[in-house]
Symmetry: C2
Subunit: 357 residues, 2 copies
């Protein structure tokens, strides 16, 4: 099979050994002579998968029993609603930082549920930087931030010191670098960008943050119901959670967060150095806020895009077209992308410059 260099922004690349094991489980899961797709989620074999998927998150985040881990269906978009539904008191206020399309969508849902204030925004410069130095209202119920902005290629390099519960959408950079997870009351992430396939969303929440809104809650939107059910209040997305578990196991086995942080730094350095050096391209974001996961760049002569497209396609590169809202190029460097793939892209950029500069 021809090796494809997969820079897809999400659903994104997964480790080859994980895909192989997932493929096998579709036919014969753990020598049961049954497919993982056709057994009860209440079977011992699957309960072990769920337990491991949950405990690996706590281990990689280095948190203790104050936090609970859930895997839920519906995507991170459902969390845009569930976060305020579970944390915003009936007469309270929620504070949000607006760093892009996804943050804006989270804000929209929170406003339907209760009073919501945008305390900082980078919309004035088309979300090409991350706001800093804003004041966090001490009387708000929580502060919601987005750690990495997939579409614009910006990333929070440090997190605000928050006097109120801190909530973070980490969908596109979870487990890519060291964070002090204990500082967060709630972290959520759609699995399909950096921890598994599409179909499940990880939520890690401090138990003490819950049960304070005064709201009569729908069961499926209530984190406490899911916690009580061990993340199996109803049938969970069995296969997506299994593949996520395998991916986290792969990460741990290879050296965990410190290993991947180092590798991701190398990948990001390689491509950003080339963007800055190469006379044909330029970056799109404030340099200090550059994302190590999604590297956005533009051609200096956009009319040459079709020529560049030929170059990278020839090199078996896939998925580097920019998001439809911003155009240009975006190379996503998720955990499973090897440094080798980045080097191939860098070589393509060099060769392109040599021919067209």
């Amino acid at each position: 099979m021809t090796k494809v260099h997969n820079f897809s922004a999400g659903p994104g690349i997964l480790p080859a050994e994980v895909l192989k094991e997932a493929s096998e489980a579709c036919i014969n899961f753990e020598n049961l002579n049954l497919s993982l797709l056709e057994i009860s989620h209440r079977s011992k074999n699957y309960e072990k998968v769920m337990d491991e998927a949950r405990s690996l998150v706590k281990e990689l985040f280095e948190v203790g029993d104050a936090h609970e881990v859930l895997y839920l269906g519906g995507g991170a978009s459902l969390q845009f609603a569930m976060v305020p539904y579970n944390l915003l008191r009936e007469n309270g206020t929620a504070a949000y930082v607006n760093t892009g399309v996804w943050a804006s969508k989270a804000i929209k849902e929170a406003k339907i549920i209760g009073t919501t204030k945008v305390i900082a925004s980078s919309e004035d410069k088309k979300f090409t930087y991350v706001p800093k130095g804003y004041e966090i209202p001490a009387d708000a119920d929580y502060l919601h931030i987005t750690s990495n902005n997939t579409i614009y290629g910006t990333q929070m390099k440090s997190f605000p010191k928050s006097p109120i519960p801190l909530v973070c959408d980490m969908s596109s950079d979870i487990f890519s670098r060291k964070v002090n997870a204990k500082d967060f009351d709630l972290i959520y992430a759609g699995a399909q960008k950096n921890m598994g396939p599409a179909g499940s969303t990880m939520v890690m929440v401090k138990k003490e943050a819950l049960g304070k809104t005064g709201r009569n809650m729908l069961s499926m939107l209530d984190y406490q119901v899911h916690i009580k059910g061990g993340s199996m209040y109803n049938t969970p997305p069995v296969f997506p959670i299994y593949v996520t578990m395998l991916t986290l196991k792969w990460l741990k086995k290879n050296g965990g967060i410190s290993w991947i942080e180092n590798l991701n730094q190398q990948k990001a350095d390689a491509i950003y150095n080339e963007i800055d050096r190469n006379s044909m391209f330029h970056g799109t974001t404030a340099i200090e806020d550059r994302s190590f996961m999604n590297v956005c760049f533009l051609m200096n002569k956009p009319e040459l895009e079709p020529e560049f497209d030929k170059f990278w396609k020839e090199a078996n590169i896939s998925g580097i077209r920019g998001h439809r809202d911003v155009g240009g190029y975006r190379a996503s460097l998720y955990n499973a992308l090897p440094l080798e793939s980045v080097n191939v892209l860098v070589e393509v950029m060099k060769a392109f410059e040599k021919k067209f500069a």
Copy 2:
């Protein structure tokens, strides 16, 4: 690989050829040299999968453009909330028939959203029959029924003629028999019992039923938002929908609903005839309401259960232990279960009688 006779109540058995194709797609999807698990849901190849998964439902249900088909995350349990959220007017009333645990859960969620009346129930006899002859209030916003009750093994053999919009949870018998789908304003089904693996839920809804509640709606709970997004308002559960599409294609290819209805009738006849004939067992439900999907039965001498368990395990039968709420045995005869497996179970019951009667 030893053949296992898989009577699991859900997630349930899927066709072997579907599992094989699913397994292959985990490694190399449609010769892209990429796994289905690591490509964009916006890619042409996947958009085709989603289109086909949606249109196969309309084809098998023989409905036209008045209905829309969605695949959503969160399970049928999320639909317990979404149905009233989308159909129950701010000052309206919803009518429910209570035929078991799942119907009761649907009622619980509806009550959180608005006025909800239970117009008929079989709780008086532990849900061992299906209520009939009840009056449907003409001024209610909709009537909610459950076509098949997985835990108790009862099934609606005909549906009420409803003067108001009819909503049906068909999670455990969808596409197992002919129904007049046009009579329903909304049908939903968690895929994992009869149409695919866990992780996605099919919703088919009449467009004209929507947009009438006066509610300011959360995006992810709003059917109209999902319809507008072509069931891709956000990243869908990619792989579960793919496997569902393959399963529906398998059903169509083999002869569609009339083929499977006939086969399911043969399977149900074989086992119910044996339960009625065999001196060691008895059925648990009203005979006219017996489910063709979930066949519940008890031992006449419960103390012999460990002996019977040895018999069926010896025959490579799996998943016939009854639900923890009711005990005994439950053989689920979902579409992909071959008649051969039922015959094996019948032979085991005969052999057991011969030894212990």
